[in-house]
């Protein structure tokens, strides 16, 4: 895409906002947890039990706060028998996209 879209412009205002990046990553990771839970038929109540925490606590995690801790993510990973990886990579250019999402070109969909 050559022209900057409305959403690109809106996201651009947050490009260097750590809360935006952290919330985006948190959103993506909790989305992945949701997919894993759906596939395994695990409810939030069951996840809470596996993590040894309360259900309201799990609900707060799924609200994907910017300050979601690596420890909480590790707890979720252990409860879901999943591996957890967090890494740095080269910043994408020129288009902005959702933090944590593996980008593929619109032309390849």
């Amino acid at each position: 895409m050559t022209d900057e879209s409305w959403l690109d412009r809106a996201a651009g205002t947050y490009q260097r906002d750590p809360d935006f990046i952290a919330e985006g990553l948190s959103l993506e990771l909790m989305e992945q947890a949701t997919v894993l839970m759906d596939a395994a038929g695990i409810t939030r109540a069951e996840l809470a039990q596996r993590m040894g925490v309360s259900k309201p606590y799990v609900t707060r995690l799924f609200r994907a706060p910017a300050n979601l801790t690596l420890r909480s993510l590790a707890q979720i990973a252990l409860a879901l028998d999943a591996a957890l990886t967090v890494s740095f990579c080269e910043a994408p250019t020129p288009r902005r996209f959702a933090p944590g999402v593996q980008y593929t070109s619109p032309t390849s969909r």
Binding site: W6, L7, E23, L27, A64, A98, Y103, S105, R109
Partner: protein, 138 residues
């Protein structure tokens, strides 16, 4: 359906779509009730207002829209839910709602946004009506 200055236009219902993002999974549009150069997009007006009044909620919606466009439908029910008759909602922890529906061929269409009240059936009905009008004549 015809093209008018980059918009997809449905003249029968005086409704057109403004493309707001083209992601890897979905192209996002906002319903636009304006004419000619004048835009009247309730969803974008809502987001602009939110940018002034609640930047955290605005920031969250931008994250949700980016994620939806690039990676597909959001399954976490804290942020997106099906409502009724093909209408869905994006929502934030600040009780703000942005309604949308799907059109075949990878399009997501935002209708309008609002601050949630206990019973928001009227808002859902409005989005259902927009969806029906758009689909009937396109």
């Amino acid at each position: 359906m015809q093209s008018d200055q980059g918009h997809r236009v449905n003249f029968w219902v005086n409704m057109r779509l403004k493309e707001i993002a083209r992601g890897a999974k979905f192209t996002l549009y906002a319903l636009d009730f304006g004419q000619g150069d004048q835009e009247d997009c309730p969803a974008l007006d809502f987001l602009s207002e939110l940018e002034r009044t609640n930047v955290r909620s605005h920031r969250r919606f931008i994250s949700l829209l980016l994620r939806h466009a690039d990676a597909g439908p959001i399954k976490n029910r804290e942020f997106s839910n099906p409502l009724r008759d093909g209408v869905f909602e994006f929502k934030t922890e600040y009780t703000d709602r942005l309604l949308y529906f799907y059109e075949p061929a990878g399009a997501t269409i935002l209708t309008h946004g609002f601050k949630k009240i206990p019973n928001y059936n009227r808002e859902i009905d409005t989005a259902i009506s927009y969806r029906a009008q758009w689909k009937e004549s396109s």
